[in-house]
């Protein structure tokens, strides 16, 4: 056996541990760690595993509601009650650094990791969504990353058999070289099926199931917690894991089958920090100790050291603690699925994580302290200097538009606004036969039926079906320009998207993507964003049930825009309430809910807008304020209207403002391949007071939704909205123009666009850029 390296200050630094952190290790152990133990501390105390820089901030999140069955931080993912004894488990997680280095496998294993987190809770994963960020598509390397990430997600999700039902994609220079890949998965279970990641029962055997351990993904968690440089990308390619969705599908089926036997005392996936994290965390949660022998761990290559075996992030592996005497059931089920398994140790009462290699002790660490006593930092936060210029920005130098004809086309073609069909057509978004609203509307909608639940089948037909809506949002430009308001706005937009689909929010999960926390300005962005998310989630009664933090998202050019992605899940009461964004029938009334322009906003909603970025190449100005009270009222009012059955379409105004939302209403329905459905609209904005045409059409004032109703119902809708305190006004009629054209009239003129032409710009933009 080769001798292990001696612990030197350089070696400690190579493991991303500070001299102070090393001192705490010495103190905690009362001795020096050996090389393998140092590796374990390195991953367990990385940001990815310990949240050492953010734990203090995350305490501000609302995490409780009557629906919460398993709260944030307790387990791999939170669990919410959805009624009738059913529950859902969901979480979002990043795989940013691996995707920057190897986009296909990086993104694929991101999907694999989040799916594992969900079935570890005992839930059957039933759908996925994702949030992606890339640089601008003019750059060949960005296109390579974009292509690789999307095909990686497609590969993993499609093969596993989980529908990827929605998501969002943004393109901005700040993500060049540091793309963001945030993957979300949701699973369903009955209350009595909740599984725990605790090593319970002294003497219970510990099983390893899934494929053999290799050297891949060595110390990926530590890698994810560093700045990304070109050099690191090259060196760390070996830190990216290789995914096998087929293996994961089998592993999931076998685990759910095993959980149903009642033989499982605890279950935990081997994700970040692999065997290390899973053994240490299960023991810490169980208040027990754990002892394993590495010689019994299936190994892919000969001569692996304890360090390598413990820190490997080989994929699709699970750690399962079995009730003593029921070992045969593991063997029976895993043999049925032709999956490797090995009994590698047992639960002890020592509180220690003991790892042997051929009988010799190589690791002996206090499990609870290792898992729970990671350093906790209160980093210095300082308001960034650039904000002074942002706040000083006025529209003085920006000439208003005389004619908005070309501007609308340019905005629709802008990849961030353009149709994402190039992306979602590569994802199987219908497998499992539950998808009721496919990608392309404000939120995805799925149904939960008998076979969505582990072990469920529809033989007796009495299953209480449920409907869920999902959305993920974050306008990071707005967050960059005003972190607190921008983060609130991300939550508000998510909730608005759910409301537009007919859903009431019930919970959320966040993915904090930020730069290096040692930089006080970047830490300030983080701190303010978390504050904004917390206020937002509280306002919508959508507690955070879990999430993920990804720091050090920067390359030599600088940090990414602060990106606190928020995914939200909502419940729809009745299938009749499922609502989509596109206009339905000629003659329907078009109504704008919400204040068209915020009178107190000196930039009239143009701050940080897509319009300023695309037409004036300026990414500045304070964005529209987010009034959570107004947003909440808008949401409940809209839902109330939808529940009365009079709303035929609902679409929120976001990037590109009112004009883009109207255009999308005219062309975003897709009947089939190459078969969009076009419908015109005649819009009259003369009654709206706004001193600038560009702001009226393209401003991004928050809290606005476009709805349509029949002519007959329009008065009722407007009156009811006003009664609830939501400004509402008729702004036009669907159809009512010759051919399919969008006609908009304001006090300064009247313009018309052919819907087919606008659609072509919007639909083909990304396809053309990728060709």
């Amino acid at each position: 056996m080769p001798t292990e390296p001696a612990i030197t200050p350089e070696l400690v630094a190579e493991h991303n541990l500070t001299p102070e952190e090393y001192e705490s290790i010495l103190e905690l152990l009362g001795r020096a760690p050996n090389y393998t133990e140092l590796g374990i501390f390195s991953v367990m105390w990385s940001e990815h595993c310990s949240y050492k820089n953010t734990r203090a901030l995350l305490k501000g999140f609302p995490t409780q509601s009557p629906r919460v069955l398993v709260a944030a931080g307790e387990e791999n993912a939170g669990i919410l009650d959805i009624g009738d004894g059913l529950a859902i488990s969901f979480k979002i997680e990043s795989h940013n650094h691996p995707s920057a280095v190897e986009p296909f496998q990086g993104a694929a294993t991101g999907v694999g990791g989040i799916i594992r987190d969900i079935f570890t809770m005992g839930a059957r994963p039933v759908c996925a969504i994702n949030s992606l960020r890339f640089g601008e598509l003019g750059n060949a390397n960005v296109r390579r990353l974009f292509r690789g990430v999307v095909s990686g997600i497609a590969h993993y999700g499609n093969c596993f058999g989980i529908p990827t039902v929605g998501g969002e994609v943004y393109f901005d220079k700040s993500y060049e070289g540091n793309p963001l890949v945030n993957a979300f998965a949701l699973g369903v279970l009955r209350h009595d099926q909740i599984a725990r990641g605790a090593a319970k029962g002294v003497g219970n055997p510990v099983f390893y199931v899934g494929p053999a351990t290799g050297r891949d993904g060595l110390a990926g968690a530590a890698f994810a917690s560093q700045d990304l440089t070109e050099e690191s990308a090259e060196i760390q390619r070996g830190a990216v894991q290789v995914g096998d969705p087929f293996m994961e599908k089998l592993c999931m089926e076998a685990c759910l089958e095993l959980l149903a036997t009642g033989a499982v005392a605890g279950i935990q996936d081997m994700g970040a920090a692999g065997l290390t994290c899973s053994t240490c965390e299960t023991a810490a949660r169980g208040g027990t100790g754990i002892e394993i022998d590495l010689a019994k761990v299936p190994q892919r290559s000969p001569g692996m050291t304890p360090y390598e075996i413990l820190l490997s992030e080989s994929q699709e592996r699970m750690l399962i603690i079995i009730e003593q005497g029921r070992e045969e059931e593991v063997k029976r089920i895993f043999d049925k699925w032709d999956l490797p398994w090995a009994e590698i140790g047992h639960v002890t009462d020592t509180g220690q994580m003991v790892v042997k290699n051929h009988g010799e002790i190589v690791v002996d660490l206090p499990a609870k302290k290792l898992a729970d006593d990671a350093p906790l930092y209160h980093r210095e936060a300082k308001e960034p200097e650039y904000l002074a210029a942002v706040r000083a920005f006025t529209l003085e130098g920006i000439d208003d538009l005389d004619d908005p004809t070309a501007a609308l086309g340019k905005l629709l073609k802008w990849p961030t606004i353009a149709s994402k069909n190039w992306v979602y057509r590569q994802y199987d978004h219908m497998v499992r036969a539950n998808t009721m609203v496919n990608p392309g509307s404000d939120a995805a909608v799925i149904r939960i039926k008998a076979d969505s639940v582990p072990g469920g089948d529809d033989r007796n037909g009495s299953f209480p079906e449920k409907l869920l809506a999902l959305a993920v949002d974050c306008n990071a430009t707005h967050v960059y320009l005003d972190p607190f308001e921008g983060a609130k706005a991300a939550v508000a937009e998510c909730a608005r998207n759910l409301a537009c689909s007919g859903a009431t929010p019930i919970g959320s999960t966040d993915n904090l993507n930020f730069g290096n926390p040692h930089n006080p300005e970047l830490f300030w962005q983080l701190k303010e964003s978390v504050r904004g998310l917390a206020e937002g989630c509280a306002a919508f009664d959508a507690p955070v049930t879990g999430g993920n933090v990804s720091l050090y998202n920067q390359n030599p050019e600088g940090a990414i825009d602060p990106t606190p992605t928020i995914a939200m899940v909502g419940l729809i009461e009745d299938a009749a309430h499922v609502t989509t964004q596109w206009f339905k029938d000629e003659g329907d009334a078009v109504i704008l809910l919400g204040e068209p322009v915020d009178a107190e906003d000196p930039l009239h909603g143009l701050g940080g807008s897509a319009f300023l970025q695309v037409l004036h190449e300026q990414k500045t100005g304070t964005p529209s304020r987010c009034n959570l009270e107004t947003e909440r009222t808008l949401g409940t009012t809209l839902l109330g209207l939808i529940q009365t059955g009079i709303i035929k379409s609902a679409h929120d105004c976001a990037e590109g403002g009112l004009a883009v939302a109207l255009a999308e209403g005219c062309f975003s329905e897709l009947e089939g391949r190459n078969t969009p459905r076009f419908i015109g609209a005649k819009i009259d904005l003369e009654g709206i007071e706004c001193e600038r045409l560009d702001a009226l059409l393209f401003g991004e004032t928050l809290g606005r939704v476009i709805i349509t109703t029949t002519e007959l119902d329009s008065v009722k809708a407007i009156e009811r909205a006003k009664l609830m305190g939501v400004p509402a006004r008729r702004i036009g009629t669907v159809g009512a123009v010759k051919g399919a054209a969008l006609k908009i009239k304001s006090t300064t003129g009247e313009w018309s666009w052919e819907v087919a032409g606008l659609h072509d710009l919007w639909w083909n933009s990304i396809d053309n850029a990728m060709a």
Binding site: R425, A433, D457
Partner: protein
């Protein structure tokens, strides 16, 4: 009338088929594990979509060697009805129960979208109930759905009226633009010479309930159910 839905490791549309057969059509349906050597008392066998054996090597190429496929072959040789959807179609081609092969989409990308199909023949147990001239709108979801065969095989498929479905556009025109994957002659589904084994790339099981935005897929299930009923009425007691 009983149905069996095969379950390979990596099948992922198995439950969807079971759901439609059981809940939409009320037919007793059981999953049939790939290690079984008999199809039991099933009246018809569905081979569902998914990624059997991870689609390693080639789609469907490992599944054909599983024990259950021996039983399915024997069942079909005795006149039993076998229907493969997506990966099931690929498996049937690999097993030699249907001619030709499904190769990589010409876009080199996975495609998931709704397509339009014309029913090229109503003379089969899988298409008999589809109204004359009715085009179907069904989802596809595959990376390898590009049907290919040699000229002789194509000729034989055409001569014997064995092409069941072809990709068309929304207007019903058989154009290259309507072809989502590059399939020869826009072929989306075919049957064997005896007309009791068929495969198609689109997913009728995903379009059998109004909640999912379309019910055209029901016609295919209804066709098979009607054919099996006729068969059982005609069979000697």
């Amino acid at each position: 009338m009983k149905f069996a839905v095969l379950q390979f490791p990596g099948s992922n549309c198995d439950q969807d088929c079971v759901h439609v057969l059981r809940s939409v059509f009320g037919c007793p349906t059981e999953l049939l594990w790939h290690k079984e050597y008999s199809v039991g008392d099933a009246d018809a066998v569905f081979i569902p979509g998914g990624f059997s054996y991870g689609d390693y090597l080639r789609t469907g190429s490992i599944a054909r060697f599983s024990p259950v496929m021996g039983a399915v072959k024997e069942f079909a040789d005795n006149g039993g009805h076998v229907f493969g959807i997506c990966n099931g179609f690929q498996i049937l081609c690999e097993a030699g129960m249907l001619p030709g092969a499904l190769i990589r989409n010409r876009s080199l990308q996975f495609r998931c979208e709704h397509v339009y199909l014309q029913t090229a023949t109503r003379d089969s147990p899988f298409t008999g109930q589809i109204p004359e001239g009715k085009n179907l709108r069904l989802p596809i979801a595959h990376g390898e759905g590009n049907y290919f065969c040699d000229d002789k095989t194509l000729q034989s498929l055409e001569d014997n009226d064995r092409i069941l479905f072809q990709y068309v556009d929304a207007e019903g025109d058989l154009t290259d633009h309507a072809n989502p994957n590059g399939s020869l002659a826009n072929i989306a589904g075919i049957c064997n010479e005896k007309r009791n084994v068929a495969g198609m790339m689109p997913h009728p099981e995903r379009a059998a309930e109004p909640a999912l935005g379309g019910t055209d897929g029901r016609l295919i299930f209804e066709s098979l159910i009607a054919a099996l009923k006729t068969q059982s009425t005609l069979a000697p007691a």
